[in-house]
Symmetry: C2
Subunit: 233 residues, 2 copies
DNA sequence: GCATATTTGTCCGTATGTATA
DNA sequence: CTATACATACGGACAAATATG
């Protein structure tokens, strides 16, 4: 049964469950699995099977579910269970609207060199991943780049509040056909953004807005070209 | 069965009211209580007592707790229980840093009249509350005013993501000595902001930044003048 | 420092309600 | 419509951690 392979992986992940509270541990394991694409958008999270695979009770699992729902990775349908979120087209539009606000604000303000250094190091990691043709890592570094951009705003609270945004962006990337090509295409644009920032270029905000516009349209085109076979959210 | 149509409507209406699970209902009740100040920052939320008071099982209550923790109203300490969050001074600084980003961005962009109308109506409600000397309502409308400001960004996702910010602001207001005087003082400044917005004044961003700076300093002064007797978060 | 009581963390069994084949 | 599978919610139980005297 190939349908069981996902749960078999969970059994091995069970070894990781060691410290902190069970429900937190379970949430961590499931989060990793979802972000890695083990559970694709729209797929159902069976209480029973996951309970058995992780050897935890339903109560504990349901607490973990509650956490992940709040993080935006799962959606909960009353008396039906929980499913991996399937970002709709309108959700994508809204995601980019939200990113436009916080990312354009971030690049518009005067930045301190030490915070920019984080952006620089992420850019280096992305380059390394691209050179090694590690497309999964490239996708992660791409998101990390924009997380580092948001951090320029100087509010750690804002950073943590936006976690669901980046989670859902990863879900979106799992829905497009060729994430590798997608991320590779934006590697150079990230570099241009960084150079504009380093130069103190006041047009960085405009560049960021254009960047997000293009990305949004490309993602929407991908989602349009795909016959949505997933269960509705 | 035309005789049943009325009752059928009632049944469907009742179904909608009860369409949320117990844990969600419990979370709603507790949230209201906390935001209303029934549970003050730092106070402990006893599982046993709340279970008995609401006649729900511990499992159900713990799911509700998980939700409220995720919303920022409660903090969870392993093997110790959950407590109403006590915003620290650094938390207040960060809260205003976050608000500065999203609220200044909101007033900087060109706004559509229909969305501004929401700000206008909230302003009217606040005036009415002030005239009626209903200080609790005034505090709520003050926060609603800024929620309406953020909504000018045009991202409903951003609006929902910021829910913990407004929740925590209410907790902060519960910690200052005279919330009524505080909110009354900012009623006029809200009006000035609104008028600047209606006039399309490009200096609205600066006005908002000043507004938040002043509010932050006033809140911090309040928290400094108070011997923090609450358990540490 | 120690013993006790309280509270939390976790699991189990089960009854009820809901959705779907 | 019936039957099955599943989610929801409850209560009890026990170990572990914490608070209290």
């Amino acid at each position: 049964m190939s349908a069981n392979t996902v749960y078999e992986e969970l059994v091995s992940a069970r070894a990781k469950l060691e410290q902190s509270s069970r429900s937190v541990q379970v949430a961590n394991v499931l989060r990793e699995g979802i972000l890695a694409g083990a559970f694709l958008p729209g797929s159902r999270m069976s209480e029973l099977e996951i309970c058995e695979a992780l050897a935890v009770s339903r109560n504990t699992l349901r607490e973990a579910f509650r956490t992940l729902v709040e993080e935006g990775l799962l959606v909960h349908e009353l008396n039906r269970g929980v499913f991996v979120r399937t970002p709709s087209e309108s959700a994508v539009v809204d995601l980019y609207a939200c990113r436009r606000v916080v990312e354009c604000a971030a690049v518009s303000r005067p930045h301190t060199p030490d915070r920019l250094s984080r952006v620089v190091s992420v850019m280096r990691d992305a380059d390394a991943a691209a050179a090694a043709e590690d497309w999964v890592a490239l996708g992660s570094h791409n998101i990390s780049f924009h997380i580092a951009i948001v951090a320029l705003n100087g509010s750690t609270r804002l950073d943590t509040l936006l976690t669901p945004i980046w989670n859902e962006m990863r879900l979106v990337f799992h829905m497009i056909s060729d994430p590798a090509a997608f991320h590779l295409g934006y590697l150079e644009r990230n570099r241009e953004l960084l150079e504009a920032l380093q130069a103190g270029d006041s047009s960085a905000a405009k560049a960021m807005a254009d960047y997000l516009d293009d990305a949004e349209h490309e993602v929407l085109a991908e989602l349009n070209g795909r016959t949505t076979r997933h269960p509705a959210a």
